[in-house]
């Protein structure tokens, strides 16, 4: 197995074209355990961390750009980002431990394509986009267009993600992410739920609800969104969110959770994530009215 560390996107693309049996990586917190556990080794591993465009968290106009290989700890330590996306920040901050977060990246979390990846539901809920590098030129793709199944992405061989783009949230809009694990950290989500909520006074005017770990890929719960928008977050509306979330699950029975458990708890977490995001959206509208 060879190692290379290109310093530009073009150099990386050329390296990948020259060696088809190659894997890119950022923090390698998924890659190394996978190789250790006996997955076949590629001929070449390509370290993306030396490419400037893939590192950093910047705000330009109303859009945040996050390099795909940026350690998630840089993201969670960015106060401006955390204020705009408290839920996504929470999700990124749940990955592993401090040590893991000094390595782990959003690009790796997304492209490892685990159904349980913690940052993915919150990225989808916030309409994140990715910029994909390809020999045929760059393209921008919605984040929910990347994962297509457990361990599988829509990226063609030789392609990789350069950066994530997130528009700043509209007024009175905020997000939340909650996950269930049997421990308090260092674990894989049994259920994850992200919500982004927009409010107008007591009224829900916008909702995006996405579940993780309960289906082959992160799952948007349209029925829950429909039940919520136009409501005043009544108990009935929240119960409908929970019911829709449970119904949207297509989970597996495995060592980490049973189907029945995942279904029931998906409803609970979806409801709680909505309530939390709503509270934050109201708080953010208070703030903006003050300033």
């Amino acid at each position: 197995m060879r190692y290379s560390a290109p310093t530009t996107v073009d150099e990386a693309l050329a390296t990948l074209t020259a060696e088809p049996n190659a894997r890119v990586f950022a923090g390698a917190t998924d890659l190394i355990p996978q190789l250790r556990s006996g997955r076949p080794e590629p001929a070449l591993i390509v370290d993306l961390k030396r490419i400037d465009r893939l590192r950093g968290v910047t705000l330009t106009d109303a859009t945040w750009t996050i390099g795909a290989a940026t350690p998630t700890s840089h993201l969670t330590r960015n106060a401006g980002f955390a204020a705009d996306f408290p839920g996504l920040t929470e999700a990124a901050g749940l990955i592993g431990s401090d040590q893991i977060q000094n390595r782990s990246s959003l690009g790796g979390n997304l492209c490892n394509a685990s159904p349980a990846a913690d940052s993915v539901p919150a990225l989808i809920a916030n309409d994140a986009r990715v910029v994909v590098a390809s020999a045929s030129g760059e393209r921008v793709v919605r984040v929910d267009g990347i994962t297509i199944g457990p361990g599988a992405t829509s990226l063609a061989p030789g392609e990789f993600i350069i950066e994530f783009q997130l528009d700043r949230p509209a007024a009175s809009t905020s997000d939340a992410y909650l996950r269930m694990i049997p421990r308090t950290e260092m674990d894989i989500a049994v259920v994850g739920a992200a919500a982004r909520i927009t409010t107008d006074g007591g009224l829900c005017t916008g909702a995006t609800i996405v579940l993780g770990a309960v289906a082959p890929i992160a799952t948007r719960v349209n029925d829950a969104e429909t039940a919520l928008v136009g409501s005043t977050f009544t108990d009935d509306a929240l119960a409908a969110v929970a019911a829709a979330a449970s119904a949207a699950c297509d989970p597996i029975d495995d060592k980490r959770g049973t189907i029945a458990y995942r279904r029931q708890v998906a409803g609970v977490l979806a409801r709680r994530a909505v309530a939390l995001a709503r509270m934050r959206s109201t708080a953010s509208s208070n703030e903006s009215s003050q300033t």
């Binding site: 269930m180 049997p182 308090t184 674990d187 980490r256």
Partner: protein, 766 residues
């Protein structure tokens, strides 16, 4: 800050708590908390653990393991492997002597077949061959190239499967002990029973009778350091072995027995140990590395991966337990009927015997029957784990006791006090208790702030109690005075809980010298006399007794030498505050350094060795209270508060007593809430990593508050009881009782995972 400064601060910072908590006021050094001698090396990464040994020309050894849970080995072809690049030696079962007709004990035969399969493999991960090569990669590639032809047999993974009629037999030739042939059940190796009184009478006298069935899961000891061994066999047949273990003498005898070598041809040097908890009292890689080294003529290092640790090194038993208790309306226990079925793993030898002895040892019950069965199945051979056998039995008994207390509306501590074993009670396993401190632990919990505090919403509180024998046994200590008058204390007991410090504290106390000037070390098998394993909570008690005896003999010798130096009668010299003193104060007192400087003229080097087989271990008891908070919608348990009280006899180094108490509780919490093995249908392990084998992480735990109770053991010069094990015994029962208190449902199956708890809540709501 220098190391000395740190020592000073540490002592002042902790001294107040020491004096209020312990009875050590009578002592100058015993009961203080000096910094551990191995601490700096461990935090700076300098300490040498099992895998850290590197020798010139060293090869790396790896193991080839069975992919089948149960199969006959038809053939093994190592030709291709042996010819691969870098490979120096390949060994299989054919390279080991067959012990079955050699007069070796049944345990030795099992061990021999566990470290290297012969005609059959009995679990996924059972060793079928081992390879030594230049690099680990080459060795792994060669191990993968070994061709084993298997005749696959049906396997059994659970107690119920193993004992079902017609179950496939792991050892068709096995003769069950203690079972009449007409009652024989498949795969059942033995039956043990403890009985007293008349059960029918006991239950007839009961106003309340409660019976429940429980299951507990096999759990791993979870030590951080994987098994590792480095062997170097020289051409003259002598061998050296470096490994971390709980007893290098035991490793030597087990390894040489399995290999058929002369015991004393092998020298074993103990490495620092990164956790054992009972699991490092047996052999895995040690004989393999020795044989590979002999075959290759090179040193060989072998280190397990974590998945090998989980797949093939010793968990403790899972169990099926039935408990039926009877009590009068006033709360007196009248009868106990208990059935215990324990998993032994692939070879006989679960700790069901100890489980049966300890199950109701906390209580004085007039009529009881405790029956236990040892059952083999296609999983790794179990190994000792902290109070082997006791925690699962206590989980069941303490759960049913809690129900008795609820049924009778008696406070759970009162119920236990009413039935508590005290001095003079005939223990359920036979002997009559001398002075013990069970009642004192119950009183300590009853009066602690925690037990008096109110509970919040969704919270529940549980009580649990536990007993463990603690053991004595063989130990050797050598105390040497250097030319400068400083002291080295050497024993043969690997330090797994801070015992080096405790040995130094005994010596400091006995000789009246500063503990921080004493070297406390562990000798290899050629350097120091024999010691039993560090297990059974025996080292501070037994090895400590050897150190104390050696120091007392040395004090006598020092007085004799001072008398010679002063040319006075021996009787006129006494040893006070680290110095020889004339009873009439007519001579300038002599320090250790003064006496050491003249040692050549008073009889030569100053060195004393004491070796003994210590009797009179003091039984240990623990009482615990825990508060849990349950998320009623997810079944998630948070342990919000925990207090453990334990009778230490005398706390020699209170920090290490507290460490043992806390460690036991933490392991018990893991066992109670999340730890379990998930096997696939084919018998392979699905969660062979710390990611999915869920030991508690730090953020899962509250501070574990400790109350050290000190009821001195009358049989020990300082009143020491063992403290290492009993702390895990009450925990699962206490947690189960707290969960019941919180959600109103009794969970009888471990682990009490969020899924199980939510199921129980759902059923209650449905």
């Amino acid at each position: 800050m220098t190391a000395t400064d740190q020592t000073a601060t540490k002592q002042t910072a902790t001294e107040q708590t020491t004096t209020e908590q312990t009875a050590a006021a009578a002592y100058k050094w015993v009961g203080t908390r000096p910094v551990r001698p191995d601490g700096v090396d461990k935090v700076t990464g300098k300490a040498q653990f099992g895998a850290d040994r590197v020798l010139p020309g060293m090869l790396e050894g790896v193991v080839a393991r069975s992919p089948h849970a149960h199969a006959r080995i038809v053939s093994i072809d190592t030709t291709a492997a042996a010819a691969m690049p870098g490979v120096h030696a390949v060994i299989t079962g054919a390279d080991f002597p067959d012990l079955s007709d050699s007069g070796a004990s049944a345990d030795d035969v099992s061990r021999s077949r566990n470290v290297m399969a012969r005609d059959k493999v009995l679990y996924v991960g059972h060793v079928v061959a081992a390879v030594a090569a230049q690099t680990r990669r080459q060795a792994r590639a060669a191990a993968d190239a070994i061709v084993v032809e298997y005749d696959v047999l049906d396997h059994v993974l659970t107690l119920d499967q193993a004992t079902a009629d017609g179950a496939p037999l792991l050892h068709p030739e096995m003769v069950a002990r203690g079972i009449d042939p007409e009652d024989a059940r498949p795969n059942t190796a033995s039956r043990v029973a403890h009985e007293r009184g008349d059960l029918d009478v006991g239950f007839a006298n009961a106003d309340v009778i409660i019976e429940r069935s429980f299951t507990t899961q096999a759990v791993h000891q979870g030590y951080i350091e994987p098994h590792a061994a480095v062997a170097d066999v020289t051409r003259d047949g002598r061998a050296e072995l470096w490994c971390s273990s709980q007893g290098h003498f035991a490793i030597r005898s087990m390894s040489t027995t399995v290999l058929g070598w002369e015991l004393s041809d092998v020298k074993v040097t103990p490495a620092e140990i990164g956790g054992g908890f009972g699991g490092k009292t047996t052999i895995y890689l040690e004989p393999l590395s020795l044989l590979l080294s002999q075959r290759s003529g090179r040193p060989v290092r072998m280190v397990m991966d974590r998945n090998e640790v989980f797949t093939a090194s010793g968990p403790t038993s899972g169990s099926n337990i039935r408990v039926k208790l009877g009590a009068t309306a006033a709360g007196a226990l009248t009868a106990a009927d208990i059935m215990l079925e324990y998993e032994a793993g692939a070879f006989p030898g679960s700790p069901v015997g100890a489980a049966a002895m300890t199950a109701i040892a906390c209580y004085d019950v007039p009529n009881f029957s405790v029956v236990g069965f040892d059952v083999v199945l296609n999983r790794p051979k179990t190994a000792a784990y902290r109070a082997p056998g006791a925690p699962a039995a206590a989980f069941a008994v303490e759960s049913v006791l809690d129900e008795v207390a609820r049924e009778l509306s008696i406070d759970p501590i009162d119920l236990r006090l009413m039935n508590a074993a005290v001095e003079g009670t005939q223990a359920s396993y036979g002997p009559t208790f001398p002075r013990i401190g069970f009642v004192e632990t119950l009183e300590a919990i009853r009066h602690c702030d925690h037990y008096q505090s109110p509970l919040g919403p969704n919270q529940g509180r549980g009580i649990g109690c536990g007993f463990w024998f603690n053991v004595g046994g063989n130990s050797t200590a050598t105390v040497n005075v250097h030319e400068d008058g400083r002291l080295t204390v050497m024993t043969g007991s690997p330090d797994i809980g801070g015992s080096r410090s405790s040995m130094a504290l005994f010596a400091a106390e006995e000789l009246g010298i500063d503990v921080n000037t004493i070297q406390s070390i562990i000798g290899d098998t050629d350097t120091i006399g024999f010691a039993d394993v560090t297990g059974g909570s025996r080292v501070t008690l037994s090895t400590g007794a050897a150190v104390i005896e050696a120091c007392r003999e040395m004090r006598e010798d020092l007085c004799r030498r001072a008398a010679l130096m002063w040319d006075v009668d021996r009787d006129l010299v006494e040893w006070v505050d680290g110095r020889a003193q004339h009873v009439d104060r007519t001579e300038t007192p002599l320090s250790l350094a003064d006496v050491a400087a003249k040692a050549g003229r008073t009889g030569g080097p100053i060195s004393v060795t004491a070796a003994m087989n210590m009797r009179g271990a003091g039984a240990g008891f623990s009482t615990q209270v825990v508060d849990v908070e349950i998320d009623p919608e997810t079944g998630q348990t948070s342990v919000v508060r925990f207090t453990t009280a334990q009778d230490a006899g005398t706390a020699i180094h209170p920090s290490y007593v507290e460490g043992q108490m806390q460690g036991g509780v933490v392991q018990g919490i893991g066992w109670a809430l999340n730890e379990t093995y998930t096997y696939r249908e084919d018998g392979s392990l699905d969660n062979d990593s710390f990611l999915d084998y869920r030991v508690p992480v730090a953020s899962d735990l509250p501070m574990i508050d400790t109350i050290i109770v000190e009821v001195p053991n009358p049989a020990h010069p300082y009143g020491v009881r063992g403290v290492g094990e009993v702390g895990i015994v009450p925990t699962m029962g206490a947690v189960a009782n707290a969960i019941h208190d919180a959600i109103g449902h009794r969970l009888c199956d471990l682990p009490m995972s969020p899924m199980r708890i939510l199921d129980a809540i759902n059923q209650g709501n449905g």
